[in-house]
Symmetry: C2
Subunit: 223 residues, 2 copies
Amino acid sequence: MTTSTVENYVKQLYVEQEANPGEMVLMGRLAAAMEVAPGTATSMVKTLADAGLADYQPRGGVRLTSRGQQLALHVLRRHRLVELFLVKILGLDWSQVHDEAEALEHVVSDIVLDRIDELLGYPTVDPHGDPIPTSSGRVHDPKRMNLASCPIGRPQRIVRVLDQNPAFLQFIERQGLMPGTKVTVADREPAADAVRLRLSPKRETTLGLAAANKILVEATATA
Amino acid sequence: MTTSTVENYVKQLYVEQEANPGEMVLMGRLAAAMEVAPGTATSMVKTLADAGLADYQPRGGVRLTSRGQQLALHVLRRHRLVELFLVKILGLDWSQVHDEAEALEHVVSDIVLDRIDELLGYPTVDPHGDPIPTSSGRVHDPKRMNLASCPIGRPQRIVRVLDQNPAFLQFIERQGLMPGTKVTVADREPAADAVRLRLSPKRETTLGLAAANKILVEATATA
DNA sequence: ATCTTCATTTTGATTAATCAAAATTGATCC
DNA sequence: GGATCAATTTTGATTAATCAAAATGAAGAT
Ligand SMILES: [Mn+2]
Ligand SMILES: [Mn+2]
Ligand SMILES: [Mn+2]
Ligand SMILES: [Mn+2]
């Protein structure tokens, strides 16, 4: 029996490892991410290690084993399929679904998940553009540029938003910058913390650099 | 914060009270129903009492307070709406959904539940014919006859099945006795533990008395 | 009035997850 | 080579839920 808590830690470790490939995750980082006291992280990590889900070097950090990684991918699959289901089938707002999925991800069975997957037509990304791992634990996660670093003047399509905060997501939605949208960076003024975007010949907006960094894009076919 | 465990105990107490209206629920009964040791039931009941969800008389039994009853009805509402959702929208078999709902009932939020309710067209009964309490905690649960006691020769419609056991439900389904089906009791032979049913002019079946007791019916309009 | 019995309650442990605060350690800086 | 600092680990408690086994009590039986 793997508890919800174990699933949450393993998932967080996976995310942390993706953010810093190759490096060990330090206890401080993990404790902060999980919002627990440092000692709690240490003790949970020992539990994960005992369960064969992570390798732990005291004072050196943690790393998921491949079993741990598989578990993380299964939890992420559940999380992301549930999110998409909540948006597409139940009509919730994309800013609400992360928190809902945070609880549901520990409870949906394989049978239910398969039905959801089928009902959604075997999707590959969730409402935020995050890739959905396959049931065998594979993810397709190509390197992407973001609105703070992509070339200026070349048309792009928004493909992913790297922040689950409801207020941020609502802001993005109000700006009309959800995944699927086409944009062109008109220009950037780093000194003014501003990225000017053109959405259509008549519509344009400005974003701060921190926000622009969290919006991933893909160059569209030069039509 | 009310835990899943508290929700499960309160729900069980409600069911137990429905089965024996007016009486106090004894610790032995509760412990057996929850499949825990007797001492565990005693200690959980004290917790419920402290939380104002139940009245507890040592050695006299427990009874839900009205707050406890409201909570029970909310959990039952979640459970039953989720069951119907799993059958109608995700296409699961009615024999599987009880166990799934047992976990999901503690995790679906009000927002999600409202969407499910809407998507299903504000249903009043779940796949087993169990009534779905309203969001304000009202249930419409009329007294019903069953196939072991209803009049012989008068056409009936099956409206509810009082057993969530998957094997039993599969059996009922194979016999073509799901809620909605019309049947007439042809005759009964208590000595032989047999109830003969007519489903149509050409189709008939036999049930044991224990099974017949668990199938509730309603007399159909004498067409 | 006492005995017997069985349901119930109590007691003492255990497991998972957590915290606060103390102890430890590794590294950096004189 | 020490002193100092920050991160980490340890220690000792706490809460929820559970069990096994011992203690208690209420009823009925003699
Ligand atoms: Mn979670
Ligand atoms: Mn997402
Ligand atoms: Mn339950
Ligand atoms: Mn049901």
